[in-house]
């Protein structure tokens, strides 16, 4: 990891918004798990078909982050660290100290991609801890644990092309509100495509977390269901990175 990426990561962990979002997620997980409900109400929560008791609770909670919420949260963070930095005149500071646009953008890409993985890991940690306090070690039995952890890992990978797309968007759109607004529109458009023309939706990375986490919820995935998604992620990631690189010198760093 480069020095600049480390410095950027240090900055992001000072961002209050991250902790605020995680705190909201903790509250949501506690509410869904029924951890703080009365003993009389708990069997009702356990009987909820969507949760399927404690074993599949971590997998169930993943649906709340894997699609729209995670994408919008990362859009805000990306816009904050690119658009807001540019507006504040911070993007040019490393350039004034002999660093290149490539180094600055690579540091941002490295930091944001790593951070998107860290967020999935943090979500997993929260969900497993709450589950443990609510149901004990039920979700830790080997096949169930492997199944849910593999889905968390796949979701983390799905953030790679998404994050690169958001970085490209933020490089061109000068304001946070535009990046978040365009991401929202893009998600709506994809939702429509996914419902109306699912065959076409398969060519987009966003299709796969939906497929793995929501459509095939609570069952293990076959290799044949995984590799097309991984291939699409790789293809899009390479394509988007090359697009960022090819446009790098035309991107305005100045406010």
């Amino acid at each position: 990891m480069t020095l600049m990426t480390r410095m950027e990561l240090r900055r992001i962990f000072q961002q209050r918004l991250v902790y605020f979002f995680l705190a909201l997620f903790v509250l949501a997980v506690i509410a869904y798990s029924g951890l703080l409900t009365t003993a009389e109400l708990r069997p009702l929560v356990d009987a909820d078909e969507r949760i399927l008791g404690g074993s599949y609770f971590p997998e169930f909670m993943l649906r709340f982050y894997s699609t729209n919420v995670g994408a919008l949260f990362m859009a805000i963070i990306t816009a904050l660290y690119i658009c807001e930095d540019r507006q504040a005149g911070l993007l040019v500071q490393p350039l004034l100290h002999g660093r290149t646009k490539k180094e600055v953008l690579d540091a941002k890409i490295g930091m944001l991609c790593l951070f998107s993985f860290v967020m999935v890991a943090a979500i997993a940690l929260i969900v497993y801890i709450v589950s443990f306090f609510r149901w004990g070690g039920e979700m830790l039995t080997t096949p169930i644990l492997a199944q849910s952890l593999s889905k968390y890992a796949l979701v983390a990978l799905s953030f790679l092309p998404l994050e690169l797309f958001l970085i490209l968007l933020a490089c061109y759109a000068k304001q946070t509100v535009i990046v978040v607004g365009e991401t929202f529109l893009f998600l709506m458009l994809f939702g429509f495509l996914n419902q109306e023309v699912p065959q076409a939706a398969r060519f987009f990375p966003l299709y796969y977390p939906y497929e793995w986490v929501i459509k095939h919820e609570f069952r293990s995935l076959q290799l044949a269901e995984i590799w097309p998604g991984l291939l699409i992620f790789l293809l899009y990631s390479v394509l988007l990175y090359l697009l960022i690189v090819s446009r790098r010198n035309k991107i305005t760093f100045d406010r």
Partner: protein, 302 residues
């Protein structure tokens, strides 16, 4: 001349519209160059080209003999800059902001950063988050940041913005001290009277073109076209002056006239005055300020 920066035929155009045209200048090490000009003159574009933030259309920039185009990293190691309103990581303290930038360079000690904060008068505010700083404090911190890697050339855009008179005095004193140590400065500012006293050299830009460049003292002293004149008979004197097409009365009072010799030399005017037979009570050459020269040059341009 031991040249700190050499700019040759520097031009910048946006969509074939020139913003800076054929700019040429050299500055000696330890000089303080005031880059002056009205709004939209091309000052900021020039500063951004000198710091490689924007590319030039044509021309060369050599910093201590190193080409900014072919060796940008090496050339920029010699440059410290603070452009626009100073920008900082607001959630960090002053010390952390400096440390962040210091990490981009090799081996800059904690002691050095603390010394820099002391130099700009922020030693008691090192642990305060920058978001609580006033604009004046940010200006001083920006200067400290520009000095982090011991640059030989410092480029400052409106460094006195937001500073109180004491702050300005301290800043100018600091600039002079560093210039004595052979650090070269390029300062863009609208504070013309301050620039007159601070800068050893001046370059005035208008509409992207260099109107004048030279030593500040020479630019001010070289001009004797502005005179103060008083006649024994002011009435007759006024009529005589008004009859001359080569001069213009800029100001007149009961006591005297301020006259601009616009198309006649001082010697030729003096000859005319003597032959006119008027009795003169007072005649003096009025020293032009930098502001006078600036207004004269930039207004006359159109």
């Amino acid at each position: 001349m031991d040249t700190a920066i050499s700019v040759r035929n520097l031009t910048k155009s946006y969509k074939n519209k020139p913003v800076v045209t054929d700019l040429n200048f050299e500055i000696e090490k330890g000089s303080i160059l005031g880059l002056l000009g009205p709004n939209g003159a091309g000052k900021t574009t020039t500063l951004k080209m000198l710091t490689n933030l924007i590319g030039k259309t044509t021309g060369d920039i050599l910093i201590d003999g190193i080409s900014l185009e072919s060796n940008p990293k090496q050339a920029l190691r010699l440059v410290g800059a603070s452009l626009d309103t100073p920008a900082f990581y607001n959630e960090f303290t002053a010390f952390e902001n400096l440390a962040y930038i210091a990490k981009l360079h090799d081996q800059i000690s904690r002691e050095k950063l603390l010394a820099l904060l002391e130099l700009v008068g922020l030693s008691e505010e090192t642990t305060k988050k920058v978001k609580h700083y006033s604009l004046g404090m940010k200006q001083r911190l920006a200067l400290a940041r520009a000095l982090v890697h011991d640059p030989k050339l410092i480029i400052l855009d409106e460094p006195a913005n937001g500073l109180d008179p004491q702050g300005m005095r301290k800043l100018y004193q600091l600039i002079r001290t560093l210039a004595e140590q052979k650090v070269t400065f390029i300062i863009s500012s609208h504070q013309l009277s301050d620039m007159e006293h601070l800068c050893t050299d001046v370059l005035i830009l208008n509409k992207g073109k260099c109107l004048i460049h030279g030593k500040t003292k020479e630019l001010i002293q070289s001009d004797n076209s502005l005179i103060q004149l008083a006649f024994c008979d002011q009435q007759k004197g006024r009529s005589w002056l008004r009859g001359l097409a080569t001069v213009e009365i800029l100001q007149e009072s009961e006591a005297d006239f301020s006259v601009w010799l616009k198309e006649i030399s001082f010697d030729a005017f003096l000859k005319q005055l003597v032959t006119s037979g008027h009795v003169i009570q007072k005649l003096s050459i009025r020293q032009k300020s930098l502001e006078d020269r600036f207004i004269e040059l930039t207004e006359g341009w159109d």
